[in-house]
């Protein structure tokens, strides 16, 4: 149903999308004025909450590192040499990313009680990446 090449391209494209969202969010974090928030008004609330950074590093910076690594892994994967280990790394990274994203989304829903459009968008992108990795994994097994 889904070729290895296509799945790898999908992971690559979504990683770049996620990277763009995180980079934009980090840029917005560096400004003190109101944020661009296409849906709802939660972005400012989330940004000013104590959960906007982790060990002093703004959360979007983690997103940038996550998506760049993800994109780099799919570049290496396209070379098809150390493919097994790369696939495992991709899965591990995607699980970590989605896990962290789920925790942050939980915080938004139940602790901060406001949703930030960009953060949720980034979470959805990471879920899509994980989904593609899982589909590819299942198909390779068959």
């Amino acid at each position: 149903m889904i070729s290895s090449k296509l799945s790898n391209r999908l992971i690559f494209i979504f990683s770049l999308l996620g990277f763009a969202v995180s980079a934009f969010l980090l840029y917005e974090y560096s400004l003190s004025g109101p944020m661009v928030c296409p849906v709802g008004k939660g972005c400012d609330i989330v940004r000013s909450s104590p959960y906007a950074s982790f060990f002093g590093i703004p959360i979007p910076a983690f997103g940038i590192v996550f998506y760049l690594t993800m994109a780099a892994l799919s570049v290496i994967h396209s070379h098809e040499i150390p493919t097994k280990i790369i696939k495992r790394l991709q899965l591990l990274l995607a699980l970590t990313g989605v896990g962290f994203g789920a925790y942050l989304t939980y915080l938004e829903a139940f602790v901060i009680k406001a949703f930030c459009f960009w953060c949720v968008l980034s979470f959805i992108i990471s879920v899509i990446i994980l989904k593609v990795i899982l589909i590819r994994r299942n198909e390779n097994r068959d």
């Binding site: 770049l16 840029y27 003190s32 109101p34 400012d44 000013s48 760049l68 570049v75 396209s78």
Partner: protein, 216 residues
Amino acid sequence: MKTETKVLGIILLVTVALLLGFVFFLGKSSNSSNNISSEVLQIDYSKGQRIGSDSAKVRLVEFSDFQCPACRSAEPYIKQVISSYGDNVQFIYRHFPLPQHQFGKKTAYLAEAAGEQGKFWQMHEKIFETQDSWSKMSGSDADSYFLKLAKELEIDESKAKEAMEGDVYKTKIDEDIAEGRKLRINSTPTFFLNGKKLNLQSFADLNTIVGEELKK
């Protein structure tokens, strides 16, 4: 190397290069914009809490929010300006609590209530000093914390309470916000030097810019 790897690799490199270029460009443009706007805006100087004489040569107006971390970090630099130039400069504090800050307005009301007893600046300092503590609190915890601050400065508790509940200083603060909007402020703190908007690269530049304005 496979073509696919080359293409993806190039796309990735270009994306990263674009980002770096963007960061560099932004850094550069804000560097060169560390200056005074040439446009002199009409500010209502009859409003706001002030330090220094009305006849001072230089008037520095700040639109600020007690819950804004940047406003807090600007504080020592403002003090430096006041102590460096003394009678030659008047500093005016105007309120511009941002909507995303839960206690922005409440702390402004509290400071105004303290001002009624001649203790605006003491309260102003206390609120900024303790910003880290109360900004993370829940509504009711923060309320009692603010009353504790009022008590420490011997401010009439019932008056402080009444002020924080809203109506007493609401008009005053809303007028400040309205004027800030009219002056097209979109972030705090925003400084005006003799009516000219400052675009500061770092608050540390405040002292130099005021000094240059005094020489004119």
